[in-house]
Symmetry: C2
Subunit: 369 residues, 2 copies
């Protein structure tokens, strides 16, 4: 049948999703998970003040949102000690990543990232016709020397680095990141994804430098602030780089409710501190569960712990699948060497207790016992 023709680029793209959601798995399985600790969500939840603010503003939702995100930008800027002109709000870091690729990558141009890093970034690079150039992890960390070498070799306009990283939970000290930044060509834009940074040591953060045009620091309300469902991320950067988003973004794309929720969340730093403590406890709990089963947990600066299952990728895949069969939602890295691990998010004790109870059986099943 004759039909409208997709662009050549769109024709080349698969209709796949970067991640299958747990709800999809639940529908396929025909029953819910008992522990939802696979998507690095924050089961400790957002501040109760956020729920109050949401309920109070519900009757106002007939109004479009402020396309400038003015109030939220003021709050975020004040929190970080930068100007509102250094802040861009978007529909999660995912939404901002799409815009960054669109703004800075011509079709065919190289984009550098680590092999096994964030699939959604890769999805957006493919979606705008960029050419992915990857450097493997080294000792379970992103290899910043190799990334730098790839950037220079390819004269890449864009490089992605997460600190702490996902899916391994490892990190670099801020001084190392700063050396990486200073060694980059001025014409290469670094997307420094700091989705998990609130949970990481302060020493892992290089100083904010809103005068530098080639670094965008990406932050989110999805992780430490417990608002993954509301979709709010932000970029911190130099004013002209930030202004470029205004050329292409969906100006009325932010939900007004999300603006309300994020503003309430950032205002309650006491709640954040409490959650961070609970996340640290959760990491220790997961490390203990791993040790009880003779497995090694990687050091983590995030709200998840990556566990080395002690075998190859096929074995870890069986462990993950056995956990899912036992109604425990977890995920795992897929890149070579990293794939020997599973990845478990911190969460309330009742969910971690289910994980603790089911892991021995899952390991036995994976071993064919």
């Amino acid at each position: 049948m004759t039909r409208p023709r997709l662009t050549a680029l769109a024709q080349s793209l698969p209709a796949t999703v970067p991640f299958v959601g747990p709800e999809t798995q639940e529908r396929q399985r025909g029953r819910p998970f008992r522990a939802r600790i696979g998507a690095n969500e924050n089961g400790f939840g957002a501040s109760p003040r956020v729920a109050d603010a949401i309920a109070a503003s519900a009757p106002e939702m007939w109004k479009y949102s402020d396309p400038e995100n003015f109030e939220l930008r003021q709050l975020v800027a004040a929190h970080h000690g930068v100007a509102p002109e250094n802040i861009m709000i978007g529909e999660g870091i995912d939404g901002l990543l799409s815009l960054v690729v669109r703004l800075f990558v011509e079709p065919g141009q190289p984009v550098v990232t680590s092999l096994g890093a964030y699939p959604t970034f890769n999805y957006h690079v493919a979606g705008f016709g960029g050419r992915l150039v990857t450097a493997p992890y080294r000792d379970d960390r992103e290899d910043i020397e190799a990334l730098l070498e790839a950037v220079k070799r390819e004269a890449a306009p864009l490089v992605y680095l997460a600190n702490p990283d996902n899916p391994m939970g490892t990190w670099w000290e801020g001084g190392e990141i700063q050396r990486f930044i200073e060694a980059l060509p001025d014409t290469t834009l670094l997307v420094l994804d700091e989705a998990y940074t609130e949970m990481a040591p302060a020493s892992s953060r290089p100083p904010l430098d809103p005068a530098r045009p080639n670094v965008l620091r990406m932050r989110t309300f999805s992780k430490a602030y417990g608002l993954a469902g509301m979709r709010c991320g932000y970029a911190i950067g130099e004013a002209e780089t930030i202004r470029a988003f205004d050329k292409v973004r969906n100006h009325f794309g932010m939900s007004r409710m999300t603006q309300v929720a994020a503003a309430a969340a950032i205002a309650d730093q006491a709640w954040l501190a409490d959650v961070l403590a609970r996340i640290a406890d959760g990491r220790r709990r997961i490390e203990g569960i791993a040790a009880d089963n003779g497995l090694a947990a990687l050091p983590s600066a995030t709200n998840f712990v990556t566990i080395d299952c002690g075998g190859d990728g096929a074995f870890a895949l069986k462990v993950m699948q056995s956990l899912i069969d036992r109604d425990v939602f977890v995920r795992k890295p897929m890149a070579p060497r990293l794939d020997r691990c599973i990845r478990v998010s911190t969460g309330p004790e009742d969910e971690l207790a289910i994980f603790a109870k089911e892991l021995p059986g899952a390991l036995a099943a994976a071993r064919g016992n």
Copy 2:
């Protein structure tokens, strides 16, 4: 200073917004509007059940949304008597328009719309390097014969038509739209923007035909359902055309809260019917205010009324500005001939009463009295 270079296309784009929001105007004015009747928002608001659902789900917002929008698609599909495969959910019609242009328009290709129609559509066409081809309105309606002629002359892959239209509020009967659809080349995709259709006569809607690959019907929760702030629109179309969105969309881009709100809204059709009656009353009220001032209101099938100010574009601009100076937020068409009008949204009587009170003074000021 050397800095990351924008793509050639991005360099060519201005950092402008399709619309300045009323909050921006309020900040510039230094005081709030007393009547917010300029953005075709629905001041009657959403069903109270929506607010209840929002409040109840607030503690769940630590979870990412279902990237398949499964439940909402089921509800929307059932409402329209089509299959869920015929429904794509997006961050407002605006978000879907961006994806449609990205999927179907190569840089340099022609895209047909009416001169003075939806600026945000034009913004997205420019944003992906499409070339706008416009046909003027005729007798204050989109000129479907001229649009068809332009499509054929240019062999355009995409054409935009709104029914009822914005900013004039006029409409075509469904039979006329159906003839337009059937006359289109199979390779031209029609975006039929029906944002206001719930407020229009049933006879204005051609039958849904989810077997036809070259028509996308765009609907929204922003207007009749009173949820502009939540950002939820949807496309109804043939399954393969709908699936194309999965190649490029931000799969986790929908707010989970928006999924909850939209599901509650579509379930309360009794509220919708009540709001539609109040909107019809509001139209009559605005028509009466216009008549009281010696002005003609255009017939409207929307939640706004376009008023012919009886002069040229410069005069109508003065009327609008005078109303804004009197704390009444209204907007106006900008294209030649259409620009003789101002556009006033229906809303609660207290806001329309302010409009009624201030219009005579605004007209006098515009006339230089």
